[in-house]
């Protein structure tokens, strides 16, 4: 049976490879749970890289710890699975050292807003030219279902069985307040829309903050489920006025399920451009 199964898989893989879909996918099979939103995110990431015709060797994917931490294993690029909460500083050093590379920093909600929350303001205000993907499933998945910084107030979790006493953070509002020059939200159930956003993020010269709404199918059965997301997510269509901070802030406050670009400052110089100007 084993042989038959693997032969079948190989055959299917060859077929898909022939279509070039898996060009940016590594040989390793993801270890995420069946039905995980992260598969959709990866799909969008592969497509964005392919459409921009990035060379594999010029991409670096840096992650922290958590379910999202495994991302670099599954993408055919240079990858570095670092420490919990630290994908941002490592990606910062790498990008400053190697401006020629496309650098993705990947983090979960616990990773980016909990343990690594102190790095976000600084990468944003420095405007380091990296694309930051926040895999936000509003729960600690790899440690099996504890409250994270985006878990809704009063939701029951394994660390707060009586209900989460904390008020959740609003990642889009934070990114805007910290001065990120590109702020957007994607949805794991919409790889096409997400692909467009990721492509824009890669092309943006400066820090691109992309929050991705995604379910944890194993440890969150009530809040950010596929069902709830499907029913509530809609397109923001703020694009025409995406340079307006006031509109963006209002949308961040009032439209928790709106996806698309919230804000972009195309004129702001990236950190390295600023340095070149100062040291001229």
């Amino acid at each position: 049976m084993e042989t038959i199964k693997s032969d079948y898989l190989d055959e299917r893989l060859d077929q898909v490879r022939a279509k070039d879909f898996l060009k940016y996918r590594s040989g390793d099979l993801p270890t995420w749970c069946p039905g995980c939103g992260y598969f959709g995110i990866m799909d969008a990431l592969y497509k964005a890289c392919r459409e921009l015709e990035l060379k594999h060797e010029d991409i670096c994917t840096i992650s922290g710890i958590g379910c999202s931490g495994r991302t670099p294993i599954f993408i055919n690029s240079y990858g570095f699975h670092t420490l919990h909460g630290r994908s941002i500083p490592v990606a910062t050093g790498l990008k400053l050292a190697r401006e020629d590379l496309t650098v993705f920093a990947v983090a979960g909600d616990g990773d980016a807003l909990g343990i690594g929350g102190g790095h976000l303001p600084h990468v944003a205000r420095k405007n380091i030219d990296i694309t930051f993907l926040l895999f936000d499933n509003s729960i600690y998945g790899l440690t099996k279902g504890q409250s994270s910084s985006t878990t809704p107030h009063e939701m029951k979790t394994n660390s707060h069985p009586a209900g989460n006493p904390d008020t959740p953070l609003n990642p889009i509002k934070l990114a805007l307040a910290y001065g990120a020059s590109f702020v957007a939200r994607g949805y794991a159930g919409d790889p096409e829309g997400m692909k467009t956003i990721i492509k824009q993020g890669i092309q943006h010269k400066g820090f691109s903050f992309i929050q991705i709404l995604t379910p944890c199918v194993t440890f969150d059965k009530t809040n950010r489920t596929w069902k709830n997301l499907k029913e509530n997510v809609y397109n923001l269509n703020l694009h025409t006025q995406a340079d307006n901070m006031e509109t963006a802030m209002r949308a961040a406050e009032n439209e928790p399920f709106g996806v698309g670009l919230f804000f972009q400052d195309k004129d702001r110089l990236s950190y390295q451009d600023i340095l070149r100007g100062l040291n001229r």
């Binding site: 240079y78 570095f80 630290r86 050292a97 020629d100």
Partner: protein, 586 residues
């Protein structure tokens, strides 16, 4: 041939020009061909009238330590100088202001506190400064003029050094400083009846190339630039900040980038990121910052990414004593962090070897794809020496990454197990060389792998590097033995090594059979050499600037026999006098 060895201290209140007068004295003496070592102490607070001491040792022979007690104390400020009298030798010389602006109450005058036996020379510093330049500001220069006269220093050369120091200032500033100096010189020549025996007259120093007058932090920055550093990330912390400040100016000129981060975790994170990108990167910090960086030490070693951390030790633990020197981060440097985590630790033993240590650190980190910690301390960071300009590193030390051969890329194993533990490394951007790194245990491809055999194999691989590093590390410094054996062997490390070496030389002059051992390389440690040394010594002594005897404990494990310890946490550098006294008791 006549020689001289003198320690001169000037003590004043912040803003009185104490430190700049000390600097001029050092530069002048260096230009005259003497060896100098100087060390200033000043308050941790920026504002106020805190006590400043400029301590300068001058010698016609090589200097290994700053000298514990002063031969001469120049009291610019009576109040502060009273507490400094304890650092003056029994037969020392006090130079004080005999006509201060306001007469002192009896118990506030430094003269009221001197022990019998101290030679006192009263100079009307304030009055002479007014006469020379119309204000009291030049008292420090008057004092320099007075000691130049009393100790028969070269007047013309000294004047020149003062002019050089202020050459970028307006003429009136130069003139008032020079005139104050001359006023002090003339007055002391005429009025001081010399009863001490210090004299620079007749001491001839050979002509030599101009020396570099530099402290450890400055030399570290210089070494890093010479060794092709291209990225520095850091967070301000005493006493390492100066390294960042120098590099912030110099790195952009050398095609590099300096990043000031939000904390020390981000600093070492960015260094690891830049190292992953294939360029040379480092950070510098002190105890509290090193504690934060500890989480990345494991990642650097596990994922085999080059990183260099300089830890300039200060008094600890916690925030501790930020402006005092100590050697209490030995344990943290060697084993801070979790798991079996072999890293390289170097500790320069004097100012000059700071250069060598940094060049070596950047080389070893790159070649062995690992973490290198360099332990300095407050004293090494800030004490000033005159040294020969170090030779620039050779090409082989500048390009050390071992890249895979084209055929190795066919089935590229980033963590391939080899003889030396070094796996050929591609850097991002290399076609066909793609790999994945992780802090998880992994196989030779870098894929997560938690098997017991795999973990053992990879742990052994990481430890293997130690053997290879040791084979190309600088040999320990071992003094000559009088005969086959010595009664006392002094084993030391870091900035205490100079004082230990000096103490052994002094002891041998007294007829004590003694020898010294020190090693810049702390991890991996030259164990064989230490065992060989200790086998030839009847008794062993480890002097160090911490309370618990961190290095002594480490050494005991290697040599498997008890040893004597000498520990100080006074915040002052190790003194050869104290080691010698202990040796006499042994």
């Amino acid at each position: 041939m006549k020689d001289i060895n003198i320690v001169i201290e000037m003590c004043g209140s912040a803003g009185e020009g104490t430190i700049s007068a000390g600097e001029i004295l050092s530069r002048f003496m260096s230009a005259q061909g003497y060896e100098i070592m100087s060390f200033d102490s000043y308050p941790a607070e920026i504002r106020g009238f805190g006590k400043c001491v400029a301590h300068t040792r001058i010698s016609s022979d090589p200097i290994y330590s700053p000298g514990k007690l002063a031969d001469v104390l120049i009291a610019l400020n009576d109040n502060h100088s009273i507490s400094q009298l304890s650092a003056l030798k029994n037969q020392g010389i006090l130079i004080y202001d005999s006509q201060p602006a306001r007469p002192h109450e009896e118990d506030k005058s430094v003269l009221g506190w001197v022990d019998p036996g101290i030679i006192t020379y009263g100079i009307p510093l304030t009055m002479l400064a007014h006469r020379a330049a119309g204000s009291a500001r030049g008292r420090n220069m008057v004092a320099l003029g007075a000691i130049a006269a009393i100790f028969h220093m070269d007047k013309a050369g000294f004047t020149q050094s003062i002019e050089d120091r202020y050459s970028k200032k307006k003429k009136i500033v130069i003139d008032s400083n020079v005139n104050s100096f001359l006023e002090g010189f003339e007055w002391a020549t005429k009025h001081i009846e010399k009863i001490d025996s210090f004299s620079f007259e007749g001491v001839t120093m050979p002509l030599q190339d101009e020396k570099l007058i530099i402290n450890g932090n400055q030399l570290v920055a210089r070494a890093a630039l010479d060794a092709n550093l291209k990225f520095y990330a850091g967070y301000p912390i005493t006493p390492a900040t100066k390294i960042m400040e120098i590099l912030s100016k110099e790195l952009p000129r050398h095609g590099g980038i300096l990043l000031q981060t939000e904390d020390e975790i981000a600093a070492i994170g960015a260094v690891v990121g830049a190292g992953f990108g294939g360029i040379r990167a480092m950070t510098a910090t002190s105890g509290p910052g090193f504690a934060l960086m500890t989480e990345f030490t494991g990642l650097s070693v596990m994922a085999e990414v080059p990183a260099v951390i300089i830890n300039s030790q200060r008094g600890g633990p916690s925030t501790g004593i930020p402006t005092k020197t100590e050697q209490s981060d030995f344990n943290a440097a060697l084993s801070g962090g979790t798991g079996d985590c072999p890293r390289v630790v170097l500790a320069p033993t004097d100012t000059y070897s700071c250069y060598q240590a940094i060049v070596l650190a950047l080389y070893l980190a790159e070649k062995y794809q690992t973490l290198v910690v360099v332990l300095l301390d407050f004293f090494l960071s800030n004490s000033i020496r005159n040294i020969d300009t170090p030779e620039k590193p050779s090409e082989s030390l500048l390009n050390a990454n071992i890249a895979p051969q084209p055929e190795e890329l066919e089935n590229y194993q980033r963590y391939k197990i080899t003889e030396t533990g070094i796996s050929p490394r591609t850097i991002p951007g290399t076609p066909g060389g793609i790999f994945f790194s992780t802090g998880l245990e992994h196989d030779e491809y870098g894929r997560p792998n938690y098997s017991d055999k795999g973990h053992l194999k990879m742990t052994e691989k990481r430890f293997k590097k130690h053997g290879a590093v040791l084979s190309e590390a600088p040999a320990p410094q071992i003094s000559e033995f009088d005969g086959e054996t010595a009664d006392i062997g002094v084993i030391s490390w870091g900035s205490s090594a100079g004082a230990a070496r000096e103490a052994v030389m002094l002891a041998r002059k007294e007829g004590i059979s003694a020898a010294s051992f020190s090693s810049m390389m702390l991890s991996p440690f030259p164990e064989k050499e230490l065992i060989g040394f200790s086998d030839k010594c009847k008794k062993l002594l480890v002097p160090e600037l911490n309370f618990g005897g961190q290095f002594a404990n480490f050494a005991t494990h290697i040599i498997k026999r008890p040893l004597e310890r000498l520990n100080f946490i006074t915040g002052r550098p190790m003194a050869s006098e104290d080691i010698l006294e202990k040796m006499r008791e042994m």
